[in-house]
Symmetry: C2
Subunit: 465 residues, 2 copies
């Protein structure tokens, strides 16, 4: 007989039928006559109560039924007499598939710190919290694919290993097959990268955007969803060395279309979470962040504010004049700090803000230049609690302007010929944006540390598992 998942059992009304359930013991309590076993199989945050009559099952069979043990239970689905559940399983037989020695198993029923759980990241999917986070993570990925698929976008796998550092978005990890202890050298003593695997120095990508644009200029609308890497020595709750990005790129989209898409997209994801992850969200709301669900719902209730950067600066300057204190200075040309972004979103407008038309000096070379000569058609989506969640722009489609900007920034033209070709041949207005997947998850789960929304975080000095 096939096992039934606990999620299905708990939603079932097939009382008095025989079932097989498998899962891991969360807790065991009871008396000399009866054991109550809370069993979880990861399909849901909720446990199934298994009731075992000790005379019937036998003490020996129950000896290894301890927290963390894995069981296969044959039994009968019945209405539950206890509170907190509507059904339970009366065990007919219990097989311990794998015991978990109570003296060494690290996940006893008492609560554990998030820091401790990071050290046992190989076991934390067995906890309520990480089960919930991983299920929500899956659902957000599914929401993203479904959203773009329904719109006729194509999922594009941009390369992970790259020979160019064109975006200049951050420090890169080098990828090599050379013997680092004794690399081959040229006559001048420099490392001979001709002998490396790719015949040149290569790195891990910091963004798939530029290659994404190549796709959009052929098949119209694409999105990437892949890992990206930053070799920054940042030990903060917001930084990972390895994280996942979603980067849509669209031909024939101007900045307004881009803003419309970004707003629709993120609302779609939040709506999906509320619709499909209610149990897990309620758990996280109760355990970690009492405002979580209210905050998610608030995102859906009104259009995002759309505001030029210059207007944003004016509002912040007025706030300073009115007595608001910021750590970092406010002036036209300044890159906004999280405190500024959160002031605009949480204090001033009390809803998400899309900030546009940033000074070109603080934005990337590929953004479309406005006719004022000093701003670009950037758009950042700013969210409560986490600040910037999306960064995007209309892309510069004009060959000469783009080439000039590349020269001004001393980006090696030899790395850019293929990118410039999209403006040389059949150019068109086009736009795109990037969403850090773990940023989205911080917002949707309410977790405080980005290391707790990815299964196996990579950070300075940490590549365990």
């Amino acid at each position: 007989m096939k096992r039934t998942k606990i999620k299905e059992i708990l939603a079932s009304e097939a009382y008095d039928t025989d079932v097989v359930v498998c899962g891991w013991v969360r807790t065991r309590r009871g008396s000399k006559q009866v054991a109550f076993i809370a069993l979880n199989d990861g399909s849901t945050i909720h446990n199934l109560q298994v009731v075992a009559d000790i005379d019937g099952i036998g003490e020996e069979a129950l000896r290894n039924v301890t927290t963390g043990a894995c069981l296969r239970v044959n039994g009968r689905l019945v209405r539950s007499q206890g509170k907190g559940q509507t059904v339970e399983v009366q065990a007919a037989s219990i097989e311990v598939l794998g015991p978990a020695d109570p003296t060494t198993y690290p996940l006893q029923k008492k609560g554990h710190s998030m820091e401790f759980l990071r050290e046992i990241a190989h076991l934390r999917p067995r906890t309520n919290t990480f089960g919930a986070v991983l299920r929500i993570r899956h659902h957000m990925a599914m929401a993203i694919h479904t959203f773009f698929h329904q719109k006729g976008f194509f999922y594009l796998h941009t390369p992970i290993i790259t020979a160019s550092d064109a975006e200049g978005a951050g420090q890169m990890f080098q990828v090599t097959t050379l013997d680092v202890s004794n690399p081959p050298r040229r006559q001048d003593g420099s490392v001979d990268y001709d002998a490396d695997f790719f015949g040149r120095r290569s790195s891990l990508t910091v963004s798939g955007q530029l290659e994404g644009e190549l796709g959009a200029m052929g098949i119209g609308e694409i999105y990437t969803f892949g890992p990206t890497f930053r070799a920054e020595n940042s030990n903060t709750p917001r930084h990972l060395a390895e994280f996942w990005m979603i980067e849509p790129e669209m031909a024939f989209y101007e900045i307004e279309d881009n803003m419309d898409l970004a707003e629709e997209f993120i609302k779609y994801c939040v709506r999906w979470a509320l619709d499909h992850c209610a149990d897990d969200l309620h758990f996280l709301n109760d355990m970690f962040d009492k405002e979580l669900i209210a905050r998610l719902e608030s995102i859906l209730q009104a259009p995002f504010v759309r505001l030029a950067y210059g207007e944003g600066i004016r509002i912040l300057e007025e706030a300073v004049a009115g007595g608001t204190r910021f750590e970092f200075p406010v002036y036209w040309g300044a890159d906004l700090a999280a405190e500024h972004e959160r002031f605009l979103v949480e204090q001033h407008f009390k809803r998400p803000v899309i900030l546009t038309d940033y000074p070109k000096e603080i934005k990337a070379f590929y953004m479309k230049q406005n006719d004022d000569g000093r701003t670009v058609r950037a758009m950042d989506v700013l969210f409560p609690k986490i600040g910037e969640i999306i960064g995007g722009s209309e892309r510069e489609a004009d060959f000469d302007r783009l080439q000039t900007r590349i020269e001004e920034l001393h980006i090696p033209m030899k790395d850019m010929w293929w990118y410039l070709d999209t403006r040389r041949f059949g150019a068109c207005p086009h736009s795109g944006f990037g969403l850090g997947f773990e940023r989205l998850l911080l917002f949707v789960t309410g977790m405080a540390n980005i290391r707790d929304v990815i299964p196996f975080p990579r950070t300075p000095k940490n590549a365990e598992f």
Copy 2:
């Protein structure tokens, strides 16, 4: 007015309505009075015919309407008089968004070799062939996510950068932030990896399976879908240094459940391609592989053969005795070569074969050992034309047997403590398999070279774009 995608226009019956279409010119032909422009926007393999009356539009406006140019066309949707299409657009105005100089644009209408197109991989999404391949690639990814989502599996992101080489599946790329030209050294002269980003030597993953098992042992059923890497110096039509893998891992699955899942899964993907990519498949069938669609349909028509390795060897030995010549020898214990796999599938059974119970010496350490002491519960799915498309097994759940096998193979135990913990605490029968995404795409598209089913292939000496 918003543009309408060409895919929608071609399916429309809204005759005599005004439309805006954008796209790239594939061809232009006509007379002094009228120009016929074949326009494609990547939403479909089919072009839209735009009819431009030269007197009305003006010769000047049409001057830059050449192959590769990007247009925005305002016009009227009408029934087509010509053959090959049911609708066309009578242009009222044409704007050339971006010209493509006919003297330098590399993609003129004549056919190009696949080798040449690889050199301009940044432009090849604009060709019929790569448009078709990229759309099918998207659809296969969507099929995969949808299949697992509907079954209650969770998408798990296993790490890309790893400090362990546990699977031993192949040569690895090293990832470092050390100065390769002058790395810090310990007193004994060896490279001081304490100073590297992760505080230890680290590499790009060759498989997410082991971490996938950690997920399955907590939330039950997971699948990975991410990039994997092999630093093998293989210049063949079947090898990439960077490719994408799908690796489901399932708690409570024995080998038979695993085979059922693999067969259902791959049939689902093929069915999806036939249902959703008919136009692109017909194009590829006509252009590259006249048996493509028939081969895809044949997969769905019968259950896969399930056969023990030993039986497979016996059939091959009989074939040899009967006069069949193979390049590589056939004997119990031999790793099967593609010629053997294809003989079983294409000549003997004439349908896909799932081969099980391989000699343990030719399979990985984590596969469940059979009681005969010499075979493991491996299962490889063998397909016509491409050979092995899926490799999997029931996993060894017994702590002692697993530990012994790790010792026998001299795998460093210090890298394996976390993997062994899943057998130490709450173990259960579990299984999984791996599918190379580009292998699947070779089968579904009929393309002959794996470099032509991924947007930007990474191979020895090639990391361009």
